[in-house]
């Protein structure tokens, strides 16, 4: 089947963005946990083609920043030593996609010559650029898994309510109303307060995924229920029941395919929302903890006043989500247009957590 060009464009854009995050090890020069205590809160490194004597270099290079005594002064570059950039060079070892051991990097400098920090460093001298790309893995995984859990719950609950009707419908839909009405953020604080203060990063990650995933099922469940309600009364469904089709067959072949469009659109709307939810939680210290990086806990540094006013590059993780958000919302509108070609506008509303 040929995809319409608009849908294909958004899919390709999202594919590239995700590819960069999935292959973070290749695109970043350093390990996200590696500390450089000599160079804490370094501003982003400038890349030059022309040196201080005015000579042009084909290979891009950079200068090291001089260590400052006084942090109120602007940083000075050490122009005595040119450090050339190396492309497709060997550097720190990493595992591509978590299992392919590699040490090839898109760019880095020669070991021992000075380190390149495209987006500056944090309080421990860790490379922000590496941390943002690696943090994206956690944040996006939360979004994807959360949306998957939500849609799985929403689709099964909505289908049960719509298809079987009766008391099941009543019970499940009242439950959905309850879930929509609950103040989730505060409930989450309470829940987190009950749990031990220090949980392992993996446990914390799973907790965030499960919480984010179970909170949002009510909206998709109600949407799916509506579709199933109208789908099960169609003439061909009645006809199929008339030749002895079982409920399993009807659900699998007639009912669920009709919900596919809404499920996909919902997924495209929910994923960025859940990424944002993870960022909120981690920012507040309820989500993924250090030393793991996530977009939320990278921003948590901004809670210190001195960071907030002195180091502008610490805001950069907030920008990371923007292209993903735009990509997913564009995908959602393209999907909706694909499903209902006569309805062009898309209203993306609703908030989670």
């Amino acid at each position: 089947m040929k995809l319409p060009s608009k849908l294909a464009k958004w899919l390709i854009a999202l594919g590239l963005l995700h590819g960069a995050v999935i292959c973070a090890g290749f695109f970043t020069p350093y390990d996200p946990g590696e500390q450089d205590r000599e160079n804490t809160y370094q501003p982003p490194t400038h890349i030059h083609l022309v040196d201080s004597q005015g000579h042009f270099h084909i290979r891009p290079f950079f200068y090291r920043y001089l260590n400052r005594e006084d942090f109120s002064e602007p940083p000075q570059e050490d122009t005595t030593k040119i450090i050339p950039l190396r492309f497709f060079a060997k550097g720190a070892r990493y595992h591509l996609m978590g299992f392919i051991p590699l040490s090839l990097h898109l760019f880095c400098s020669d070991p021992g010559s000075g380190r390149i920090y495209l987006l500056g460093t944090d309080a421990y001298g860790r490379d922000q650029f590496s941390r943002i790309l690696f943090g994206g893995q956690i944040s996006l995984l939360t979004g994807l898994l959360g949306a998957f859990i939500t849609l799985l719950l929403g689709a099964s609950i909505g289908t049960t309510a719509g298809y079987y009707g009766g008391w099941r419908d009543g019970l499940l839909m009242r439950l959905a109303e309850l879930f929509v009405a609950l103040p989730w953020l505060y409930l989450l604080f309470a829940l987190r307060a009950f749990l031990p203060l220090a949980v392992s990063p993996l446990e914390a990650f799973l907790l965030v995924v499960v919480v984010v995933g179970t909170v949002g099922w009510a909206r998709p469940a109600r949407l799916i229920r509506g579709i199933v309600l109208s789908a099960k009364e169609r003439d061909f469904v009645r006809a199929a029941r008339g030749f002895g089709a079982s409920n399993t067959y009807l659900l699998r072949r007639h009912i669920l395919p009709e919900t596919a469009g809404v499920l996909l659109t919902q997924a495209a709307i929910l994923i960025p929302q859940f990424v944002l939810a993870e960022m909120t939680l981690s920012f507040l210290g309820l989500g993924v903890p250090e030393p793991l990086a996530s977009w939320g806990n990278l921003l948590a540094n901004l809670q210190q006043y001195s960071v907030l006013v002195s180091y502008w590059w610490m805001y950069l993780p907030a920008l990371a989500i923007v292209p993903f958000f735009v990509g997913y919302l564009g995908l959602a509108s393209a999907l909706q247009e694909h499903a209902n070609p006569h309805k062009i506008e898309v209203g993306v509303t609703g908030d989670t957590v």
Binding site: F236, A239, F243, G244, S246, Y249
Partner: protein, 327 residues
């Protein structure tokens, strides 16, 4: 001979959104014998389609059985468990719905739609299923069964779609086929083809048929017996030759008079209007006392306005619900 299907005093009502009930079938009783074609004749709103759906418990959610039994091959379908019912549907009773364009799934190939009927009743592997599907299709299409199996419903003509529905109905060699207006949306020559096919299939499969229609012309020469339904009640039931040859119920008589004369006699300038039955079929939510046909009847008597007539046998197989015959 033992009846294949026995319907006793079947009453079905629909509940409106306002909560009011509207009786669609009000005590219908009749039998269907193995191998016969029973034609059910009635105008819009007489309960024809409700009857078809009720026999297999396929009423819409607001439809409700008030009382009665539907006994098929010794089994009470109205009280059968869901699983038993699924075996009967499609397996022992084939159902052909009214609209061939609506009764087929638009995005599933017709071959799969037929094989899913077979798969619902027989455990066959893929190849056997495919073979059986083509065999069934070959019974309703003289050629091209392969191409039809690969087509989607929108690629077929109305007549072809009707044949696919027929194939679904006969896929498991049922003992009874219920066809609800099988020719309503077809042009006259395709209509004749489908009716001819129905007769052939009945002869090949030795199954009984309930043929539901509003058009007496379709039943002539095809049905063995005729049941005339009026406002949810049986007006007259009897052998086709007797019902069409000497209709007894005033409604049957009026209905047959409404048939247009053959085209060849009608080529002169149309001076004469077509005959119609005066009035409208009754509002089933506000039934008056008395015979349901009384307001439109040309033969009415005093008793007709006060009580409803019961079924009276005229001969062994012919019965009428009218006070003219004792009631």
């Amino acid at each position: 001979m033992n009846a294949l299907l026995e319907i006793q005093d079947l009453e079905v009502a629909y509940r409106s959104t306002a909560g009011r009930e509207c009786g669609a079938l009000a005590g219908v009783s009749f039998e269907v014998y193995p191998g016969e074609i029973l034609g059910v004749l009635g105008e819009s709103g007489s309960g024809k389609s409700t009857l078809a759906a009720a026999l297999l418990r396929l009423l819409p959610p607001n439809g409700k059985f008030r009382k009665g039994t539907v006994r098929f091959e010794g089994q009470d379908l109205l009280r059968a468990r869901q699983r038993e019912l699924q075996k009967v549907r499609g397996g022992r009773i084939g159902l052909i719905f009214q609209e061939p364009s609506m009764a087929l799934h638009p995005t599933i190939r017709t071959g799969e739609q037929i094989s899913s009927v077979i798969a619902a009743h027989q455990a066959l592997d893929r190849r056997a299923l495919r073979e059986k599907t083509l065999q069934v299709l070959a019974k309703v299409f003289s050629a091209d069964a392969n191409r039809i199996a690969e087509s989607y419903p929108h690629q077929l003509s109305g007549g072809q779609r009707q044949r696919v529905l027929l194939a679904q109905a006969i896929a498991c060699s049922p003992a009874l086929i219920i066809a609800d207006e099988p020719t309503a949306s077809l042009d006259p020559s395709t209509q004749q083809d489908i009716l001819e096919l129905l007769r052939t299939l009945r002869d090949q499969l030795h199954c009984a048929m309930i043929l539901i229609t509003h058009n007496p012309a379709i039943l002539a020469g095809l049905a063995d017996r005729i049941l005339v339904l009026y406002a949810g009640k049986v007006a007259e039931i009897g052998p086709a030759s007797e019902v069409f040859g000497s209709p007894q119920h005033p409604y049957t008589r009026a209905l047959l008079k409404c048939l247009p004369p053959p085209l060849t006699e009608n080529l002169r300038p149309r001076k004469s209007k077509l005959t119609v039955i005066p009035g409208e079929s009754p509002n089933l939510q506000q039934l008056a006392n008395g015979c349901r046909f009384e307001p439109r009847c040309t033969d009415r008597m005093d008793v007709c306005t006060t009580s409803e007539p019961a079924e009276t046998s005229l001969s062994r197989h012919h019965a009428v619900s009218c006070f003219r015959y004792g009631g």
